[in-house]
């Protein structure tokens, strides 16, 4: 069930009705059932049903592990408390350590199992193709056949979310949830299954399980946000996709300035599609009265790559920082390495070395988690390279800023934003062409083969987009930009539309009309399909 399918919209309408018409105390159960239905629907085709059980495995193992860890922690606290007087310090410490090891064992077991599933499903074929490559290198023909796995929907997102929860419980951040069905709801909350955000349990728990009465203002705003998401996705992203696909699909035809154009189109397409999807997700949650955290904060206004990654897909970045970057970089071996390197390599290099090692490993993983392929790995390392580069160049920048006194001035800010945008676009080409050598070659043609005049003369009209398409895209992008500009100073809906529900209803109506008319959906979208001739 894609967000943009009629089935999904019908599903939503039914859910919203049931959610508020049945007794409100059942709401969380209804949401859980909806999530399981949504998930099962993805595996309805014969031969694919088993994909459904991976999420069940994750729910059960994570739930049980968290409960066990919690119980262990309680026993420990109880024991220490009752024997407060009699225990001496060392015995107490040894006991605590013993119990901690037990908890760690449970945690590790559960992590290995769940990330193991993820790794096997996602990376087996990548591994096989690399093994085959090596085998071929040695001139042998005996290749390993690839395996056809059904990749369960949203497996990365729910795995990350559940494992984050488990680690938090292990760290004693909050107690584990008693009711397994409530935990199942947290993992399978359907709007975020497909593309996140990755929620933290303590963020969501407050609003996820309590009854919500029908609040017209909140519900209409939720619907407004949903429609805004569809507008971005259907009117802008899907229309733009035609051009992007055309350019990327034929690197031999579309080189030089086309590549530049493709990169910009892709940046817009990706932004509109991804943030639109998240708007739909958060909007649905808002209608249901559930708080889901924001996942984007106008990322294209970032002034550095590092800042960009704090503002793009925020929940994923936060997850990696919290559960991967910090544990790795403040682990004992890493601190030892830091000490050693500072002693032997000097203060400056020594300080950086462990951080950089952690950074590189995090980016490598960030790169390959969405798809196992070399282009993604190179993409991740590319990001890492620019982040470290700007870190290293900081003293230089400082000097420059002081010398010319540009820091904070508007033109300089705009320059910084454009620079960041350009770097991100360039890196993203790896994601477009899905092939490392081709990407570099195409990137090169931007500078070696100058064909901008020709592109503007006729090329623009040959990539599957017509003049009306460009007009819609231009207007859509202008709306997007304006909303972002206003959004810099707070929630657009609150700022511009105040609290008058009539305005919300009107905005919803206008958005609905725009989506229905200008959306790139349905078979009619390909106008060539509807030809009235040959009787």
């Amino acid at each position: 069930m894609l967000f943009t399918s009629y089935t999904f919209i019908a599903f939503l309408i039914i859910l919203f009705l049931v959610y508020y018409l049945l007794p409100h105390k059942w709401q969380w159960v209804i949401t859980l059932c909806a999530g399981l239905f949504f998930y099962a629907y993805a595996f309805k085709d014969p031969g694919k049903q088993f994909g459904f059980f991976f999420i069940i495995i994750t729910i059960i193992t994570t739930y049980l592990s968290a409960r066990l860890i919690d119980r262990n922690l309680k026993i420990q606290q109880e024991y220490v408390k009752t024997n407060k007087e009699t225990l001496d310090r060392d015995v107490k410490k040894a006991y605590k350590e013993k119990m901690r090891k037990k908890r760690l064992l449970i945690l590790t077991g559960c992590l290995v199992l769940n990330f193991g599933i993820l790794a096997v499903l996602k990376y087996t074929n990548f591994a096989i193709s690399n093994v085959n490559g090596v085998i071929k290198l040695f001139g042998s023909e005996a290749a390993v056949g690839s395996v056809d796995f059904v990749l369960p929907l949203g497996i990365s997102f729910y795995t990350f979310q559940s494992m984050g929860y488990l680690i938090d419980v292990y760290r004693g951040k909050y107690e584990s949830v008693r009711n397994p069905f409530k935990f199942a709801l947290f993992v399978s909350f359907f709007p975020q299954l497909i593309q996140g955000p990755i929620s933290r349990y303590d963020d969501m728990a407050d609003s996820l399980f309590v009854p919500h009465s029908f609040d017209f203002t909140r519900v209409s705003r939720g619907i407004e946000r949903i429609l805004w998401g569809y507008f971005k996705k259907v009117v802008i992203a899907d229309r733009m996709l035609v051009g992007v696909k055309e350019i990327i699909g034929a690197p031999d035809t579309y080189f030089g300035f086309y590549v530049f154009l493709g990169a910009i189109f892709y940046a817009l397409e990706l932004y509109a599609d991804f943030t639109g999807g998240i708007d739909i997700t958060i909007g649905i949650a808002e209608v249901l009265g559930i708080k889901v955290r924001e996942n984007f904060e106008r990322p294209y206004f970032s002034k550095s790559i590092k800042e960009y990654w704090r503002r793009w897909h925020i929940s994923l970045g936060a997850w990696f920082t919290e559960y991967l970057f910090y544990p790795v970089s403040v682990s004992k071996p890493s601190l030892k390495l830091s000490k050693w390197s500072r002693a032997h390599l000097g203060e400056k290099v020594g300080k950086r070395l462990p951080v950089y090692i952690a950074t590189i490993s995090v980016w490598l993983i960030t790169g390959i988690w969405p798809g196992a392929a070399w282009n993604f790995a190179v993409w991740g390392l590319g990001n890492c390279f620019f982040i470290m580069l700007s870190e290293e160049l900081e003293p230089l920048y400082d000097k420059f800023h002081k010398r010319f006194n540009v820091l904070g001035t508007t033109p300089w800010k705009i320059f910084q934003i454009l620079r960041t945008f350009a770097i991100m676009c360039s890196l993203r080409m790896l994601d477009c062409y899905r092939n490392v050598p081709v990407t570099f070659k195409m990137f090169g043609t931007m500078f070696t083969r100058f064909n901008a005049p020709e592109v503007f003369r006729e090329g623009l009209w040959n990539i599957g987009l017509s003049i009306p398409d460009y007009i819609v895209l231009l207007c859509g992008t202008a709306v997007l930009f304006t909303v972002s500009m206003i959004g810099r100073h707070g929630d657009v809906r609150k700022r511009v539309f105040a609290k008058n529900p009539v305005v919300t209803v009107s905005v919803c109506s206008i958005l609905l009309i725009l989506i229905l008319v200008f959306g790139a959906y349905g078979i009619g979208y390909d106008a060539s399909q509807f030809i009235y001739n040959q009787f």
Binding site: V502, V505, L516, V517, G522, F530, Y532
Partner: protein, 349 residues
């Protein structure tokens, strides 16, 4: 005060929603193809609902009925009140549901079905489906027709809210979309679509050799359903094959229909076998080199078929009914006006 404001807000919101519905309805009408320009065939199906539904003979089928039979001739020569429920590439399940729908409105004496569509066992072209289905009024028959005709890439809801299907026409709207916003012009004469051009047959393409000459399962299913529903309603079913030189009507196909007619005690007329008796001259009687007849050919064919009907089916001559005669008088005027108009256009060319 606060309550007053709340009531005001609710009323305003409802007004906005009402405006939204109105706008969407207007946009739907605007974006729906009007079939008033080059392709008038799409408007034929909808015209039936404006008629006094009291016909003796109803034709169902594809272009081989609405291009080839002239109800006016049947009236003038035999007092038969007839109507053609034909549409471009009407598929056999669409013919079935149109028959079903027609039989809910009225009980004619004879239903005439042109068997060419037996060759299609699955939906062919979405655009044609739309021409047949969009003209139908909502009824269980329309639902059935949609379900039977839909492609996998289509959704039922796109028929309920056609804006979902036709919204992409926003950048190809034409004058006719605005001109006929509030209603179409009548394009047919009792379902007959008049053509005056003459393009003689110069050659007939060599028929392709087919893998199988057996009609498909769905085709048989719906032919049987048409037969059954006619029998249930005490309506005589007459099968015909219009005298179009191509697309090819294979002898193997003809045999199957002959056998079917025999088994079920139905009348079947293959006009291809009696073109000489009809007096068809393929150098003057077709407007597209043999696919369809022009007015001159259609008049000859109808005249021949009228004799057949009068002779073989139990049909009354209704020319003595004053109301009906008056109605036909008007139709006749409209028919000749159209003819004159077309002739004028034809001469201009």
């Amino acid at each position: 005060m606060d309550k007053k404001r709340k009531v005001k807000n609710i009323i305003l919101s409802l007004l906005v929603v009402a405006a939204l519905i109105l706008i969407l309805a207007a946009l739907t009408r605007l974006f729906m193809p009007k079939y008033m320009g080059e392709v008038k065939e799409g408007a034929l199906i909808g015209e039936y609902y404006d008629e006094e539904k009291d016909f003796d003979v109803v034709f169902v089928g594809d272009c081989e009925v609405y291009e080839n039979f002239v109800p006016l001739v049947l009236w003038e020569e035999h007092g038969i009140n007839s109507y053609i429920r034909g549409s471009a590439q009407q598929l056999i399940w669409q013919s079935y549901y149109l028959t079903e729908e027609t039989l809910k409105y009225e009980k004619p004496d004879v239903v005439v079905f042109n068997v060419l569509s037996m060759k299609y066992n699955e939906p062919q072209k979405e655009a044609y489906n739309r021409m047949t289905i969009d003209g139908m009024r909502w009824s269980p028959s329309k639902v059935g027709a949609i379900k039977a005709s839909m492609f996998e890439s289509e959704s039922f809801i796109e028929y309920v809210f056609p804006i979902l299907r036709f919204h992409s026409r926003w950048n190809e709207l034409e004058r006719e979309d605005f001109r006929y916003f509030f209603g179409n012009e009548k394009v047919g004469d009792n379902g007959y679509y008049m053509q005056l051009g003459v393009v003689p047959v110069d050659y007939i393409p060599e028929p392709k050799i087919l893998g199988t000459y057996e009609f498909g399962e769905a085709s048989w299913e719906y032919l049987n359903k048409i037969k059954d529903i006619c029998a249930e309603n005490d309506v005589e079913l007459v099968l015909i094959k219009a005298p179009s030189l191509y697309p090819e009507w294979y002898p193997e196909w003809d045999e199957q229909i002959v056998d079917f007619a025999e088994e079920n005690d139905l009348k079947y007329v293959n006009f291809l076998e009696c073109t000489d008796e009809i007096g068809l001259d393929f150098s003057t009687d077709t407007y597209d080199a043999g696919l369809h007849l022009n007015l001159s050919g259609a008049e000859k064919l109808t005249s021949y078929f009228g004799d057949y009907l009068a002779e073989n089916c139990d049909l009354e001559d209704r020319r003595d009914e004053p109301e009906l005669s008056a109605l036909w008088e008007n139709k006749k005027t409209a028919f000749y006006e159209r003819k004159a108009e077309l002739e004028e256009k034809f001469c201009e060319k």
